[in-house]
Symmetry: C2
Subunit: 189 residues, 2 copies
């Protein structure tokens, strides 16, 4: 059915954004890998590639939001939740042989952020994740400005260590930055 095609287009685009970014991702590749019928692309996404990519980023952003919320809900502290989140990225990069990073970061860096609809989606995702962590840090008793600064550093460390892991083909930087953050987040530290 039509909605299955839409789903496949979004999922395929999301995966391609994570591995190769926006510019490298051609619509022909998306159509082929999503096994999408001719014409379905502009039927579902009249705005073309930018609209499809924005939908894929929003889907990705929502999934990461879900992971973050689940970690925060099931961990005893923000510290433990952050540790688990970094560890899941270590696993994911190893499982994909460093191919799949963050869909938001690739789009932010390959010039695609010139498109307003993509900048809105990518910027909105980063602000949303930062806000979730800041709220959780506030709930642990930190003041609002400090919570926001620390949340920004945590999100930056995730985005930055994905860059490092992919360039160095090693998850060591993710582990090292995680441990530096955990020392800072340690209430007894």
């Amino acid at each position: 059915v039509a909605s299955d095609t839409r789903e496949r287009l979004i999922r395929t685009t999301g995966r391609l954004l994570r591995t190769q970014g926006y510019t490298s991702t051609g619509l022909n590749q998306v159509m082929a890998e999503a096994d999408a019928p001719k014409g379905s692309m502009y039927f579902h996404f009249p705005g073309g590639k930018a609209e499809l990519a924005a939908a894929a980023i929003e889907r990705f952003a929502g999934r990461i939001r879900g992971h973050l919320l689940e970690r925060l809900a099931t961990s005893g502290s923000v510290r433990d939740a952050v540790a688990g989140f970094f560890d899941s990225y270590v696993e994911h990069l190893e499982a994909t042989q460093f191919a799949e990073g963050c869909a938001v970061a690739t789009v932010a860096l390959d010039g695609a952020a010139e498109h307003d609809v993509l900048a809105d989606a990518a910027g909105g995702a980063l602000r949303d994740w930062t806000g979730l962590l800041a709220q959780a840090l506030e709930a642990e008793g930190r003041g609002e400005p400090e919570a926001h600064r620390m949340a920004t550093l945590i999100i930056a460390a995730i985005e930055g260590t994905i860059v490092m892991a992919r360039a160095e083909r090693s998850t060591e930087p993710i582990v090292a930055a995680r441990d530096a953050l955990l020392a800072v987040l340690d209430p007894s530290g």
Copy 2:
């Protein structure tokens, strides 16, 4: 003269890598923007685009190394050097309207790291910068493992906040993460 052409090819490629990454950067664009004579490209870089990009990344990496060393030499502490380095990125992103990020990060994320010569250049740059900061932190009395972890977090924060600044079209994340790091690096903190 020939060496001027080589210089222009490297400089132009470096700028294009910072703004749009490897995949989007076509050799025709490089040749045109570098005002390079036909044939000069393969004369200077027989290995083609990957070899030229690797040379541009190494040039960029060396320039950042120089900036870092100068900051460390002229600042009273690693903390002050880090503050100055983050501030220079705030200025640079504002001056370029968020167009010019880190040449290493774009290459790491757009799939170019599949090329060994690019992964070597990008990974080598990140390891080099991390090592410089770690050495400086050790010189301030931190143990080797802690210095390495903190240096990794600082480099990750720079790479990550460039992603955030470009996506959000705001330097606010750079300032917030910088301030979180400075609180951690404060000897009296």
